[in-house]
């Protein structure tokens, strides 16, 4: 079942346009949304959550149409945004107490356990919290009602390395426990590398690639070879460095590239895997270049 489905989602600002975005996120799937600063990740999240109105397109959550005139669909969402509003003059406890009744599945026991694991003092007033502590409280608020859809926009920004690791553990547990779908926006790929099943790349408001992580890791390779004659128009190559007769290529379809190199009579062909981070950087660079050409 599609937990989140976006069809033709569009938002136009004077200086920036998002979409049209089509996206489908299945139950139990963890999707990494990767993009540079200003690519449209936060706008996309805000539209899905309802803090920004879409211009065109439709959103459905758990097969329920998400509109401003109905709101029960928001009970399925756990959201950490770029900014997380809270009652600053209240303690963490009181914030939990006031938000909890909005969610029928809220578990106070779970909230307190998460707070304990993250080492957050809930007795303090939120206005005395550091950025990291606010992020921890936001994480508790997002996870304690065991949402079916987790929308996390740079959720670990401000967290110290220990808290970041614990937060990722919590996410793994949440994902392992049920059919939660996760959409996780970041520009730090290493964060999502272990967790994500799919990686969606967004650039200048458009989804430029939507890939299964394993396929990406499998097909993208660094290929090295030795060949005397100059190489031109090598299929699927995104980066080519050469000091003749040695060549180093980055290919998004290693099989096709190696086949071509063999046909050209290249010798000593070797291919090695690339890290997801390296692949992501390459994709984003490529999409940036394309948009500048346009």
């Amino acid at each position: 079942m599609a937990m989140l489905e976006l069809n033709g989602l569009t938002k136009n600002y004077r200086t920036f346009s998002l979409g049209p975005v089509d996206l489908s996120l299945e139950a139990g799937c963890a999707m990494g949304l990767v993009g540079a600063n200003g690519a449209g990740k936060t706008t996309l999240f805000r539209i899905v959550v309802g803090t920004v109105r879409r211009d065109l397109g439709s959103i459905s959550l758990c097969n329920e149409s998400a509109t401003a005139s109905t709101a029960l669909w928001k009970q399925h969402i756990g959201y950490i945004g770029d900014f997380n509003p809270m009652y600053d003059n209240w303690s963490g406890y009181k914030n939990l107490a006031i938000i909890a009744p909005f969610y029928p599945n809220w578990s106070q026991e779970k909230a307190l356990k998460i707070a304990q694991r993250l080492g957050l003092n809930l007795d303090l007033r939120v206005k005395h919290y550091s950025t990291g502590q606010r992020a921890k409280l936001a994480a508790i608020l997002a996870l304690s009602h065991t949402p079916e859809l987790l929308l996390l926009d740079e959720p670990t920004s401000g967290l110290d390395p220990v808290a970041r690791e614990i937060f990722m553990e919590l996410l793994f547990e949440q994902m392992a426990a049920g059919d939660t779908a996760l959409l996780y926006a970041t520009h730090h790929i290493s964060e999502i590398e272990q967790l994500a099943d799919r990686l969606v790349f967004i650039s200048n408001g458009l989804i430029v690639r939507d890939e299964i992580k394993e396929d990406l890791a499998e097909s993208w390779r660094k290929v090295t070879c030795r060949i005397e004659k100059p190489l031109q128009k090598i299929p699927n190559v995104l980066q080519h460095k050469s000091e003749p007769p040695f060549h180093e290529l980055i290919s998004d379809n290693a099989e096709a590239t190696i086949k071509f190199l063999n046909e050209q009579g290249a010798e000593g062909i070797e291919s090695s895997r690339l890290s997801i981070e390296k692949i992501a950087v390459q994709i984003l660079k490529e999409s940036n270049q394309e948009s500048h050409h346009v």
Binding site: T51, V52, R53, A71, G81, D88
Partner: protein, 217 residues
């Protein structure tokens, strides 16, 4: 979720409400001891009301409360109603104090004073709704509507002050006459027209709010 949202609003502003309530009670006792007329009590009580609205708006704006509500499982209609409910409930609290003061303390309190209270109440509600419209217009797609509206409103208020007409926060020599009541004259017809204007202003504010381009404020 409507009742939950109302509870959140009440609890969210509990300290401020307590402070405002204490202030009104203090003023009530102080004015009663000095035997001042109900009109004077109303004027000072209104200052407390405005102060409370401004403080509440400032805190809500700092905490990005609308942004918080927009994320919660409540509709924009529920948010709009809850906010209006708070504004009107607090106005109603003040009105109750005015009537109580008039009946219990002011020897000259009469049916015509009741009319004054009604006029003032509607005038204040109108003023709040005009300001609310001005704020909510800022979240529409184009800011031009807000600028135009505020320009017109500022012009009207300038005229009102120029012609010595009270505009809800600034009194005049006639005592408590509140814009646009003073422009419409006195009596039941003016009240009826003002109620109608208030109704349309509240509906307009609600429609603007639920059609906002964003709730990031």
């Amino acid at each position: 979720m409507y009742s939950q949202l109302l509870r959140t609003e009440f609890v969210g502003g509990a300290k401020l409400q307590l402070l405002a309530l204490t202030s009104i009670l203090f003023l009530f006792v102080l004015f009663a001891i000095r035997g001042l007329p109900v009109g004077t009590f109303m004027g000072v009580s209104l200052i407390v009301y405005w102060a409370m609205l401004i403080a509440s708006g400032a805190i809500g704006s700092e905490e990005k409360r609308i942004q918080l509500y927009a994320r919660l499982p409540v509709t924009t209609t529920e948010i709009s109603f809850a906010m209006w409910f708070m504004v009107l409930t607090w106005l109603a609290v003040h009105v109750c104090f005015w009537i109580l003061y008039g009946v219990a303390i002011d020897p000259e309190f009469s049916i015509s004073r009741i009319l004054d209270i009604a006029t003032t109440t509607i005038g204040v509600a109108l003023f709040v709704s005009f300001i609310g419209i001005g704020i909510d217009l800022g979240a529409l797609r184009s800011r031009i509507y807000q600028r135009l509206y505020l320009g017109v409103l500022a012009g009207l208020f300038t005229l009102a002050i120029f012609f010595d007409v009270s505009i809800g926060i600034v009194g005049n020599t006639d005592g408590i006459q509140i814009f646009p009541m003073a422009l419409l004259g006195e009596g039941y017809l003016a009240i009826s027209i003002s109620i109608l204007v208030l109704f349309f202003a509240m509906v307009a504010d609600h429609l603007i709010f639920i059609n906002s381009d964003h709730y990031l404020r």
